[in-house]
């Protein structure tokens, strides 16, 4: 449980920072302090977990979610997770502090730390999750937050957009491979661990790590390759490395955090996590080693060529990631110690260097190395941070980076294979290039001559705190092996090991010094060297080629698109019809169907039903054959009423009531809306369909054919369903027997308000969302845009009846006679009374909160019809739909949550009158104050408000400017 809470903290922080009434009172500096303190606290908590992990080996916690499907939220904290967790929270705290001074604009800063905090939560979830599926979800979350952070300035910066897109495409494609690989892995682990069960998936890492014959499994080749692909793309390994330099358009704190210290190490984390069961197979080790070494060399080689400070750091990050991957790939996990030292060292020096680059960018406005120079006097803190961090990167004794390089060289020297020489050459070359890049960082940026007169905008002195602490880490951690580094590493490295900062003047030490010197020589000849660096093929070019093919395919396919929605529908439904016929489904259904002839001895209720069915069909056909929209709308109303009567005959009084009310409302809405649509537009379509017959006869036949096939299929399907009904084996029996327990007579009402209350809550949410959708559409979408010129319709003679109705609704004055006015005045209070009665006594008769809401809504809509928008609005000042909706939803949610306090669970049934001891008093009025009653009240209020929004949105006069609309409604 505590691990779940721990992981939730950054997400909650992000939510909190995004909530208006929380963030508004907090200014930029308090947000900075808050975020960095939170992450520092998380860091401290993880340190506190250290003894427990030492003792238990691993802490595993599970919150059951869907135990029957084997899906749970599980968390797993072992040494590996702890190591990564410490980096994420520790570096995170410093980055959050830094970000407070990096951004000048408070709003931008707030937006940035929201996403950064969400990212940190996702990253913690990656390393702490104990389940492959949960890890995968978190993995994708890091990709998405990274996408947002890279494209942070995307609104003004095309490079940022492209970089973000590139990163998302590459890591996303890798993740697709990864999920397949992980699912296969868990299936394979299931087969190994539970041979007696088929199709058992084992998703949690703790169990997967027990499946120690995994490397001999038949599917090994496939899932190992897929998982490798996922990790390689995430950790920017060759040939997928190119997205990382592209990601440098992110704000620098994000680059330092995501693209250097944490996210790019997710792939490495995955490799290290699965290594214990995967490494005995040659495929795993040799792929990691090969790809890692190539990446290491390519990254280091390209780094020195970069003129952009962040580009240089990005490529050298690529190189270091390659080195770590190669180390994990060494046989028998002999490189793990070196890999973890490298991870820690790299996180410290590289994020410090990134932060320095960001500060320089912030102060001078440029990151181009050839424009910088001589910054030492201007930025002394940054200078010393760079000296320490860059030398740590080069591997100067006795900084932390030196330890990383020593262990790296040591591990590689002990790797005995026929190609050891080649491996050592690559390693030495790459580290020499890295050393060269480090010298360039110090000399070309801070020493040397200033090449340009740059205006320096001094940032706050506090900006140096984060980088300085990171540099102190690089400086001291190497010296503090015993107290700090070794205990953490001992947990993460499965074997016992020795670690010394200085192991004597052995060959490794000499090699290390030689590399430093070689790097210096390279540094001296850098001008002529850099010019010669070229590479025939770049991953970026391949990516661009690929994207251009995708775009070409897109434009080609676009030629086949008509753009007419109707034809898409024709194709979709036509395909359905074709499949129904060709696959034989329809003929099978028909063949297997024995039509029971209607019983000749029909009762009167049956006759009534038959009549009503006839009415629906006739009215339905009428909606097609009448030309005028108003008539079609009224015919539609007839269908609704006839179905309502069928409900009544079928002994469903509640449903019948709702149906009748809703159909009335729907018909009113159609007619209302017809008045808002210009008559000539409607006339044009009527004319072209009926008088001029623009439509081809073939098109008519096609539509007719599709509808007949689909109608036929529905007919056969319903017949099947109707004639094969189960006999009284339904959960409904249980509802009938238990409705008494919730003090309701009406079982349907009891199901809606009590047994399935959560469904109803969601239903009301859907309804109000739809209402808000209408509001948004009509309030915001009204501006005429696009190239389609308003057509000057050739208006023929307006059909008489049609025109008069349109005029009547457009101009409400003619409806506003003294009689109609007095009717609408009387109807509203009566409707409210009926509504109240329906809510209070809904338990013992038809009607519930919903019908109450619709009843009142209908009465209000009558006011709008009769009096027109303006007068209705001014006479009903209390009717403010947006507020009413909010009130209803708040009551509903509070009522759903309150029973939790009483120990009854979400939406539990609480009898408030008994709890308050007023049962007898209210009981004498025939009332029971229960949670369901309050729920019904909430539904009534919310529905009334939702309807109000819809009515006001549709009744709002169109000829006015749209600006006043929002204020008018809310």
């Amino acid at each position: 449980m505590e691990l779940a809470l721990f992981t939730a903290v950054p997400f909650c922080l992000a939510l909190l920072l995004a909530t208006p009434f929380v963030r508004t009172p907090l200014n930029k500096s308090s947000q900075t302090v808050l975020t960095s303190l939170v992450f520092a606290a998380l860091f401290a908590w993880l340190i506190g977990m250290l003894p427990r992990v030492q003792e238990a080996g691993a802490i595993s916690q599970t919150i059951l979610w869907m135990p029957s499907a084997g899906i749970s939220l599980s968390f797993y904290l072992d040494g590996l997770a702890l190591l990564f967790g410490l980096i994420i929270t520790g570096v995170g705290a410093l980055i959050f502090f830094y970000a407070g001074f990096y951004f000048d604009d408070a709003q931008e800063h707030n937006r940035f730390i929201i996403w950064l905090s969400a990212f940190a939560g996702a990253m913690l979830a990656v390393v702490l999750s104990g389940n492959v599926l949960m890890m995968f979800i978190a993995w994708e979350l890091t990709s998405i937050t990274s996408f947002i952070l890279i494209g942070f300035n995307g609104a003004d910066d095309a490079a940022a957009r492209h970089g973000a897109f590139k990163a998302l495409l590459v890591t996303g494609a890798g993740a697709l491979a990864l999920i397949v690989g992980l699912v296969m892995l868990s299936a394979a682990a299931g087969q190994i661990l539970y041979p007696e069960q088929t199709n058992r998936f084992v998703g949690d890492f703790a169990s997967i790590l027990q499946a120690n014959t995994l490397h001999q499994h038949d599917w090994y080749l496939l899932f190992a390759l897929l998982i490798l692909l996922g990790g390689f793309t995430k950790s920017a390994q060759f040939p997928f490395h190119f997205w990382l330099p592209g990601a440098m358009s992110a704000p620098t704190p994000a680059s330092a955090y995501l693209h250097s210290a944490t996210m790019v190490k997710a792939g490495i984390y995955l490799f290290a996590r699965l290594s214990p069961v995967m490494y005995p197979n040659e495929l795993w080790t040799s792929s990691l080693l090969t790809i890692g070494l190539v990446t290491m060399l390519v990254g280091a080689y390209f780094a020195v060529k970069q003129r952009d400070l962040k580009g240089l750091l990005a490529y050298s990050t690529v190189s270091k990631l390659g080195a770590i991957v190669a180390l994990i790939g060494l046989p028998n996990q002999s490189g793990l110690k070196a890999a973890f030292v490298a991870i820690i060292a790299h996180a410290l020096y590289k994020s410090a260097l990134f932060l320095v680059a960001g500060t320089i960018d912030h102060a001078t406005g440029t990151r181009t190395i050839s424009r910088l120079g001589g910054l030492r006097r201007k930025m002394p803190v940054m200078f010393w941070v760079t000296v320490v961090s860059a030398l740590s990167m080069a591997g100067l004794p006795f900084l932390l980076g030196f330890l990383a390089k020593e262990t790296l060289l040591d591990a590689m020297l002990h790797y005995s294979a026929p190609w050891t020489q080649l491996v050592m050459t690559i390693v030495i070359l790459s580290t020499a290039f890295t050393a060269m890049a480090a010298y360039m960082l110090i000399y070309d940026v801070f020493l040397g001559r200033p090449r340009e007169r740059l205006h320096i905008h001094q940032p706050s002195a506090w900006i140096g705190l984060g980088p300085a602490l990171l540099a102190i880490g690089s400086l001291c951690l190497g010296l503090l092996l015993e107290p700090i580094l070794i205990p953490v590493l001992e947990l993460a490295v499965p074997k016992s090991f020795e670690l010394h900062l200085f192991a004597g003047f052995n060959d490794v030490f000499l090699l290390s010094i030689l590399i430093l010197l070689a790097g210096f020589l390279l540094f001296l000849i850098r001008r002529s060297l850099i010019k010669r660096i070229t590479f025939p093929l770049s991953g970026d070019a391949v990516y661009r080629e690929f994207i251009s093919y995708v775009e070409w395919a897109g434009t080609t396919i676009l030629h086949a698109q008509s753009g007419f929605v109707r034809y898409y529908l024709v194709i979709i439904l036509g395909a359905v019809a074709a499949v129904l016929i060709l696959s034989g489904t329809l003929s099978d259904l028909v063949a297997g169907q024995q039509i029971i002839p209607p019983d000749p001895s029909v009762s009167t209720t049956d006759l009534a039903k038959v009549f009503m069915l006839f009415l629906t069909v006739a009215a339905g056909l009428l909606t097609i054959f009448v030309r005028e929209h108003v008539k079609a709308a009224i015919a539609y109303g007839v269908i609704g009423y006839a179905i309502g009567v069928i409900f009544l005959i079928n002994r469903a009084p509640d449903v019948a009531l709702v149906q009748l009310l809703v159909e009335t409302m729907a018909t009113v809405l159609i007619i209302f809306m017809l008045g808002r649509i210009r008559a000539d537009a409607r006339l044009k379509v009527i004319n072209s369909l009926w008088t001029e017959r623009h439509d081809h006869r073939l098109g008519l036949l096609r539509d007719l054919g599709i509808s007949i096939v689909i109608g036929l299929a529905v007919f056969v399907f319903s017949l099947n369903a109707l004639q094969n009904r189960p006999d009284r084996h339904s959960i409904a029996e249980w509802h009938l027997a238990n409705a008494k327990a919730v003090n309701t007579d009406d079982v349907v009402g009891a199901i809606v308000a009590d047994f399935r209350g959560t469904d109803t809550l969601l239903e009301v949410a859907v309804f109000t969302t739809a209402a808000l959708g209408v509001l948004t559409l009509l309030a915001r979408g009204g501006q005429r845009r696009g190239s389609l010129a308003p057509r000057k319709a050739q208006v023929g003679v307006l059909h008489e009846f049609d025109a008069s109705v349109v005029e009547e609704i457009q101009d409400a004055t003619s409806l506003s006679t003294p009689f109609t006015r007095s009717v609408s005045f009387i109807v509203l209070p009566i409707a409210i009374l009926i509504g109240v009665a329906q809510v209070l006594y809904g338990g013992s008769g038809p009607g519930d909160g919903f019908t109450a809401g619709v009843t009142i809504g209908l009465a209000v809509s009558l006011w709008y019809v009769v009096l027109g928008y303006n007068e209705a609005k001014s006479l009903l000042p209390w009717f403010r739909p947006a507020l009413i909706v909010r009130l209803g939803l708040v009551i509903a949610i509070a009522n759903a949550l309150f029973p939790i306090l009483m120990g009854k669970g979400f939406m539990g049934h609480v009898e408030y009158d008994q709890a308050l001891g007023i049962y007898d008093i209210v009981g004498s009025f025939g009332l029971h104050i229960t949670s369901s009653l309050i729920f019904e009240v909430a539904i009534a209020i919310a529905v009334m408000g939702g309807l109000g929004i819809i009515i006001e949105a549709i009744a709002y006069p169109t000829d006015r400017s749209q600006d006043g609309f929002e204020t008018a409604v809310s």
Partner: protein, 114 residues
């Protein structure tokens, strides 16, 4: 009994709804959309697990009367509400199309392509 007729009406109503959706007139398409909903609701009420001669009330159950299926009724209740919500959204769409492009003929709208 009336099952065949029920199924027939549902089929015809469904066909009518689909036909309206396929035609050019957007207002009639909206009506067709609503008819589809009605057909589905009709199907639900017809397909309830059991029929009875009395409404599903506890008092009827206690009196030993055969009631109709309450669960399917609760389901339709929800379905009606949600379909009304989507229907008003569809009307909003038609309204906004007519305002923006000055037409209710779907043949005048090929904006999906660009």
């Amino acid at each position: 009994m009336t099952e065949v007729l029920f199924a027939l009406s549902i089929g015809i109503l469904f066909g009518i709804g689909v036909f309206q959706l396929l035609r050019r007139d957007l207002i009639k398409a909206a009506i067709g959309f609503a008819i589809l909903f009605s057909a589905i609701n009709l199907f639900f009420v017809a397909v309830g697990a059991f029929e009875g001669d009395f409404a599903p009330y506890v008092s009827n159950v206690e009196a030993g009367r055969q009631t109709s299926d309450p669960l399917i009724q609760a389901l339709i209740l929800t379905a009606i509400v949600v379909s009304f919500g989507s229907f008003s959204l569809v009307l909003g769409f038609v309204n906004i199309i007519s305002r923006r492009y000055d037409t209710v003929d779907s043949n005048d709208l090929n904006k999906l392509k660009h």
